[in-house]
């Protein structure tokens, strides 16, 4: 009895310790973004001055704009390309399928820095001017494999005859895709899109190497600013954390909402 109680306590403290270790820095950052002084250690009262400063700072606003634009566009494009590729892969012969899946896994397993330098060299050797376009292309390139990887299992779970069944009932191949295949793999497509969005949104390494001409996303800006302490970074980071948390919440809650909807329909 005593032993089990002890074990429960130990477990509680362990979990609490780990959570504290993970979240204390983030929590302190969020709290001090509302501090009324420059200090990052002593509390001088509540204020939103850093948020005001953030929204007044043109450089920061432009970074937010670049980040969102690149994230939204690259998410859209990599989701469409990745989904169609996954469908193509699932319909291919076994040898081709395994080959493409392995090729697809390569950039995922590859260290990010290698991809970053590779892309930088590619853009330089093709003498493409670095900026928004190169950043967008790079983000599409590193997101697409993740979309493919999230959509493939959904396709594998489909009845192999399902597309034929649709065509048997008079659907053209395009109609079969839109009315049957896409709706059935939609959960996978949405997870893939959210994954692509978060990856693009907080990417630093690759963006840093392929950007140029003063085009900065939030990560690059925070990195260049972090040498001189400035609490607007806290404000910006707080907004980042809130957005990412929100996206993750959607990803995790989606299956539950879906289930409820089904039960409601009954």
């Amino acid at each position: 009895m005593v032993g089990s109680k002890n074990r429960k306590l130990t477990r509680f403290f362990l979990i609490a310790g780990v959570l504290l270790f993970f979240y204390a820095p983030i929590a302190s950052l969020m709290v001090f973004s509302f501090n009324d002084s420059r200090s990052l250690t002593s509390w001088a009262g509540f204020s939103t001055q850093w948020y005001t400063a953030l929204f007044a700072n043109r450089e920061m606003m432009s970074a937010i704009y670049v980040t969102l634009l690149v994230a939204l566009l690259s998410t859209f494009i990599s989701t469409v390309v990745g989904t169609l590729t996954a469908i193509g892969i699932s319909k291919s012969r076994k040898i081709i399928r395994e080959l493409i899946i392995n090729v697809n896994n390569f950039p995922i397993l590859n260290p990010e820095i290698v991809t970053a330098i590779g892309l930088m060299l590619l853009f330089s050797s093709l003498s493409i001017e670095k900026g928004l376009i190169t950043m967008l292309v790079a983000h599409i390139i590193f997101s697409t494999p993740y979309v493919i990887l999230t959509v493939l299992p959904k396709l594998r779970g489909l009845d192999p005859d399902i597309a034929e069944a649709a065509m048997d009932l008079g659907a053209t191949p395009a109609q079969a895709l839109w009315k049957v295949i896409i709706p059935l793999i939609m959960p996978g497509v949405i997870s893939g899109a959210l994954l692509a969005f978060t990856m693009s949104f907080d990417d630093f390494v690759i963006s840093y190497f392929v950007s140029g001409n003063g085009v900065k996303n939030i990560s690059i800006l925070v990195y260049t600013m972090s040498k001189r302490i400035n609490p607007t970074i806290n404000a910006l980071s707080t907004i980042l954390v809130v957005i990412i948390t929100f996206v993750l919440l959607i990803v995790n809650l989606l299956p539950f909402l879906k289930k409820k909807e089904l039960r409601g329909a009954e």
């Binding site: 009845d159 065509m167 048997d168």
Partner: protein, 346 residues
């Protein structure tokens, strides 16, 4: 009956392997045709060629007099009930059945009428809003049939549609399918590897093996007059012997001549001989055409299955009278019970 479908010398090759070796087959309007054969003999492949999902390597397929090899599946007046149903899991029963009509953009009222009629035909009234994922195998089967039939095809293809159901439900569905076919009055092409299913449901049975048609005929033809050893063996438990035709109306096997009713073979033609278990009677030794010792006896519900060993082989006999194990008995049969077949490969 009018001829509806014709396969002319259809050959199919997968990666250099011949899966269909020149199929010739004519199917008529309003006919219940069964493709019967062991797993892997090419039944599904033939059906998929007719459905338009794959194309043949050689040969022609005619539908209503027109060669259809270049017609895509969505333009063929053929619908399919898939082996694992292939229902659309994101739709309820109504939307599954209405799928084909929605694609053809028929108006809402017509669709509702037709779907309601189909639900009645397959006995699923009141299930319109049920998600198909929550239905039993038998119910999903009915939805699959309704979803295909609502399009009023000229031909319905069914690929082992009852394979996933338990025995009792399978028997029920056999009768129901036959009833539905008579009610809608269209051609059914039914694939199965179950000979009993084929014999009970079909107008015509096409026995296939190894990508070749072995025999085409009515269930009674196929059962009573198998054309070769494979058909005889596949269609039911049988005693199959090798022998020769000694003369018209005389066949020799196991070093004995027997009277039979077949003629027209050249002398000493090697043949296969079938004796159906239910055609053999157990009689006292001195009255038998063949003598043997009873090896085993199993009660099968209606009859006994008795194995009698002669000096040459074991005979399976189905009879309503039991016999004691170890007893010496005679086996009796009539000349017309002996079925003579050309040997395969001659």
């Amino acid at each position: 009956m009018r001829q509806l479908i014709e396969f002319k010398n259809v050959v199919k090759e997968f990666n250099g392997v011949l899966v269909l070796k020149g199929i010739n087959l004519v199917i008529h309007e309003n006919e219940f045709v069964t493709l019967l054969g062991p797993s892997g003999c090419g039944k599904t492949t033939l059906l998929r060629i007719l459905g338009g999902f794959i194309s043949q390597s050689e040969g022609e397929v005619f539908f209503d007099g027109i060669e259809i090899s270049n017609v895509p599946p969505y333009k063929r007046e053929i619908n399919t009930v898939f082996q694992r149903y292939a229902l659309f899991p994101h739709m309820n029963v109504y939307d599954n059945i209405a799928f084909g009509l929605n694609i053809k953009k028929q108006d809402k009222n017509t669709i509702k009428q037709k779907v309601t009629r189909m639900l009645k035909l397959v006995g699923l009234e009141g299930y319109e809003n049920r998600p198909v994922t929550l239905m039993s195998g038998g119910q999903q089967q009915r939805v699959a049939i309704a979803r295909a039939l609502v399009n009023e095809p000229m031909v319905l293809l069914l690929d082992e549609p009852l394979g996933a159901l338990d025995l009792k439900l399978r028997k029920e569905m056999q009768h129901e399918l036959k009833k539905i076919q008579q009610e809608v009055g269209i051609t059914f092409i039914y694939v199965t590897h179950d000979q009993e299913e084929a014999l009970t449901m079909s107008d015509t049975i096409v026995v296939m093996n190894n990508g070749e048609v072995q025999q085409i005929g009515t269930p009674t033809d196929i059962y009573n007059e198998p054309e070769n050893r494979f058909v005889a063996d596949f269609i039911g438990e049988s005693n199959i012997m090798e022998g020769v035709m000694v003369d018209d109306y005389r066949v020799r096997f196991d070093e004995t001549d027997f009277e039979c009713i077949d003629s027209g073979y050249t002398e000493m033609t090697p043949v296969d001989i079938v004796l159906r278990p239910e055609d053999i009677d157990i009689v006292p030794v001195e009255m038998g055409k063949i003598k043997g010792i009873v090896q085993s006896s199993l009660f099968k519900g209606v009859h006994f299955e008795i194995v009698v060993e002669s000096p040459y082989r074991e005979y399976i006999i189905h009879t309503t009278d039991n016999a004691a194990i170890g007893q010496e008995v005679g086996l009796h049969f009539f000349p017309e019970d002996i079925h003579i077949m050309y040997k395969m490969g001659y």
